[in-house]
Amino acid sequence: MSTLRIDREAADGAIVRRPGFGLLRALRQGPLFAGAAAVLVLLVLIAVFAPLIAPYDPDAVDLTATLAGSSSEHLLGADQSGRDILSRVIHGARTGLLGPLLVVGISTFLGIAIGVAAAWRGGWIDAMLSRSMDLIFAFPGMLVAILFVAVFGSGLTAPVIAMSVAYTPYVGRLVRSIAGQEKARPYIESYRVQGWSGWTICVRHLIPNITPTVLAQSAINFGYALMDLAALSYLGFGVQPPDSDWGSMINEGQAALLQDAMLPSFAPGLCIVVAVVAFGIVGEGIADRVAKRER
């Protein structure tokens, strides 16, 4: 990595490489952070290996087992259609994580591009991009998503595109702010003096330097996006049955509450809460670490 920075500890003038985020350093963030990170790793592993670890086909209907309680056959019981809840929760981790990953990936990419362009070029480009982001802010993300679903149909694609658009200004504003500060730093000026192009400076130096802060925000956004997409699925606009999805499982399971069966809705609900809290803790932890470094 070519990015260099004069650290407080290196006030003697030595130029040191900006530290990254090694696993050990991450774990030193505290037990809460470590626990949350472990939960996320576990969720990712569950999502990746879902077909191997799920005890049943998540879509397998067994009408004789409708609303079966917890047992050795069905650890979390069965839903109204007799489908194994544990298997559906495990497979639900796939859509539960894939959707937010796409939203965060796209919104982070677009947000960085827009934010850096606005900060670097300034002037009317900054004004135009900033006002555009304000305009998008004016529309609630869920509303945009429902509109997209109405136009393009339900499923994962339309909500992901809509939520990506909705989340882009959050990243864009942050990036514009910190990129503006970074642009004013001496090392950027020195590269310009040496004749480096703005594109090269941004891609090779500025963006890598602001990445930790953006990643911290993205981790937090991941939790929010997960919640939003689950809400859309809950409302019937997202992932469609019979595909396993935590949001749609809560929707399907809530009818069972009238029959005193909690697990069909409680289990996926708990998964959403755990994932959102874990992403929030990890995001905050990263942000704290970035702030400490900046100090």
Partner: protein
Amino acid sequence: MRMLRSVAAVAVMAAAVAGCSGGSNDSAKPAGGFKISPDTPAAKGNVPSVTWSLYAEPQTLDYLYAWDFPINTVLANVCEQFLRTTPDMKIEPGLAASYTNPDPLTWVYELRPGVTFHDGTPMTSADAVASLKRHMDPELASAWGTAFRNVASIDATGPLQVTIRLNKPDALLNSLLAASPGTVESAASIAKAGKDYGNPQGGVNCTGPYSLDKWTAGDSIVLAKNPNYWDPKLAPKNDRFKFVFIQDPAARVNALLSGSVDGGYTVPSNAYGRLLNSPQGKLYFGPGTGAYLLGVTNMQGPMGDPRTRQALSMAIDRPGLIKAAAGGYATDAKSLLPITAWGLAPDRAQGYYATLPPIGQDLAAARKLVTESGAANRKIVLATSVLAPEISVSSTAIQAAGKSIGLDIELKTVTPDAYTALFTDPEARKGIDLVVTNGYTNTPDPLEFYESFVTGAFANYGNYSNPEYDKLYDQAAATADAGARSDLTAKLQEIAARDLVSIPLFEQPSNLFMNKRITGATVSSAALYWPWAATVGAAG
């Protein structure tokens, strides 16, 4: 006319009703273990007001479009028809005190004297004629327009006499005058309200035991007692009847249990357990006139091949479906209509039913049929909704059943409103092959239901067309004698069962919950047209 509905309610009860001797008032306790009766204990006194839950707000109170639960449940107490459908599914005189059929092409109705509309103006034959003719106005697109397709003229042939002349014999029209097609509204009010007729601004002005007092869009409809109601037998036992709209099933059940509403029809089947065990009130089951069906909405697609329909029918685990989707409170459906729907000839219905082929699960035979029909690699779209567990769970089970025999059934989840639109808007049905629905008849004449599969009928959603069926229907419609018409209708039933124009799933009883404060409402599906609210009064 047959109605296919997206609601989780009206309902049925075939085997159960078999024990109920087709429309009798006697209670019955079928094998399912739940008691079926059209009645609840009579009210012992009056109550000042009643609050009732509706699962949705009516889109209008215009009788032209009264063909769904919310609107009919309200309108049954406000507007009346030429004839009346009683709780035990019989047709009796309504606003028409009598009628004659001097020749196959002429029906003459003598209206009841001394009946006034809610605004105090007297009902005349001119009002009746204007009301009926609205159905024939193509610009108004009445949901009941096809009922009048054989009508040549409707005339006021006396101050209280209406004569309907037909182009060809059509006895079904007379039966349908006990349903929405026979509604009489003030002609002056229709003209005055114009396009606002039936909406919260324009309201309605009919002759029923209640008048429309206030309609707060999105919240409630309040009916007020009609002090000048013509029928003393049905003089309201309450002064004010308020309908509140509660879409969420859990919220509706909680409202019933908490006492914030006094009662409601069509409670969700997954709440039966809680409501049956509640000390706050009582859950009643009554004979219905319909069944849950898998409707074929596209006969041009893979489901157009009868072998594919047969295969899917043979793959469905109906006992499992009853347990999972209806909480066990239903029975196998052998036909598209239960025995109780045959109010026209209840003594013959059992015999008609016995001739139908049995429906059972046979996966091996079903797979063979799928191979023969070549439907294995073709996508079949099944619309579903969270509107009711009967729909969502059945859809999931049907998809799984299809998968087990090699059919590629894709679920398409739509919103409750969009689901309802499937039954009114052909555009909404585009790309949809199947839909789980509740089919029922509005009148005791089952021919009304089987009319749905006549070529070009409004409710022929899949555009099924069979000249043999059409010819037989014409013959039945032209037969005035109820018994002979029933025999012909039974033949239509046989063809519908053979061709599986819709696939029967299960029959579910109608239901009603009332808290311990009130009693007296009918549990029968006749509540769609019978002024049931008038008999609701104090329980003790």
